[in-house]
Amino acid sequence: MAEVGLSASLFSDDRFRGYSLSGERPVAMFDFAYDDPSGFYADSGAMVVFRQGGDLAPLGLQLNGGYARRLSSRTTIDFGVTHSTYSHYSSGGLPKSYTEIYAGITRGVLSSRVFLSPHYFRKGRRTAYGEINGNFSPIPKWSLNTHFGMLVPLKNPSATTYHTSVDWSVGVSRELGRLSLHAAWVGHARAPEPFSSRPLNASRPSRKALIFGLNVAL
């Protein structure tokens, strides 16, 4: 039976691989998910940012599709493609986007994925991103989430130098019926900034941040 999900979230910041795309401003997110019994799935999400002064600005749009298959009671594999576009607010200039293909495996509470992008926010910038995530539920309705990721440049456009960078997060969430509350300590090292300039009207975002928010399953 196909499953359809909708959710709305408010978060104090939007961090992409450790880097704040919202200039450390709060964001609202709307997500849609579709799971087909055959294993194919599709997700999409839209984000807006609460700018200084209180008005809203579009922040980004994400699309994702793939196929997942259960190999055993504990192990699933999945692969797919994801595309994200960010507004001029995030990039501090022209809108930017990237597309990645990915493959991953989930076993018990751990999951790991590798993403490959031919043009990571910039034409000719080829990258690989690997991540390991843990999702533990030591107490019913509570979960502890951990993430570690590493972005590796495979090929840099001429006249640019991008280095390997890492990011991480440790988060906790509490489910309260349709509502869930989240807090996460997020950080990065070695400048993984996807854009050459910072978000509009923002000072350089800090490398570490505590972000928190809530989600409502609609």
């Binding site: 959710s7 799971d35 699933t76 994801t82």
Partner: protein, 416 residues
Amino acid sequence: MSLLRHLLTLLVAMAALTLQAPAFAQGSPTIAPERQVLVMVRHPADHFQLNGSYGGGYGNDLQRSERERLARGIARNHGLKFVDGWPMPMIGVDCFIMAVPDGRSTAAAAQELSRDGKVAWAEPVQLYKTQATAALSPNDPLFRAQPAAREWQLAELHHLATGRGVKVAVIDSGIQADHPDLAGQLLINRNFVVGQTEVAESHGTGVAGIIAAKSDNGIGIAGVAPDARLLGLRACWQQRGADGATICDGLSLAKALYFAVEQKADVINLSLSGPDDRLLRTLIQAALGRGAVVVGAYDSDKPGGGFPASVPGVIAVSDHAFAGSAGRVYIAPGSGVPTTQPGGRWFLVNGSSFSAAHVSGLAALVRQRRRSAELTLVSDRPVGGTIDACATLERAATGCDCSCGGARLINATFAH
């Protein structure tokens, strides 16, 4: 400091909201289990989610939204009330709890749901009973009073193994974790009964004591596996009233079983009996498939010893006094057994519940010596019969077909 302040504010807010959580978030304690059905829907394979990496994994909320929307739709279409949902990826299903309106049978509702193409299967929440008779009287405990000390030569067994490093899940009523004979023996003491708070109860505390009461501490009794560690999983409760019977519902049992398998319990003790149940059977098979030993109390009033004792792979256990003319049932001490009681006391118990507890303790001893091996019980019949605990453990520890003190066996049978 400002970060610390933010964190504290958030924690306080989360705690406050936790206290005000709506009832449906925790299941519905106001709806009796007998008026509920469990609806199983195939669980989609886990996969990458947008926004799933940061903010505490909030990508998971989308999957939760998907599940609840589907469940609410099913409930609406069948005139039921959605109560709660519970993902069980380990067995590939999501379990939804739905309340059946008064005047309609839960069996009929489950049958109707099972014909729905969106539903894998559905079943009423069933009730189970522990297999114990009332305590004779409070008694001063002594090691020598324990049947296992005589019939199983417990002191000899402890020369070979004490259950060190082995996890035993006790799915039962509440255990008194701070009982002087049990303090420090429980890794986890968790309540799975919706709408009830954790409380120390007779049956669970008694079963826990037989398996893993501390030894050589100068008080009370010695557990069969005193160095094993217990997962106390409360899925049953003691009824108020004259007989104080201990009963369990299928949903609480399923949650506790799922947790035990997730926690990689080496041994799972189920000192209870009731109707066959597909969800519980699936979870027991998952436990067995992952190498756990599952021990069930034999109910002589039910065909095949009742459920779960009748499930292939589950070790069905009883005492001589309760076994009847059973075929595949194993016999272990279960009459006049001193064990722990709530209130920091000890008492005498009877019933196949406590025979099962003895075998769970023995399984922990065997698992300590041979972690990868299946439990091979040595008994006086090809299948079932009186267990020779010494021979069972000697075989696991040394490979010798002999009993306590090295005496070679003549008429033993290896089975299971």
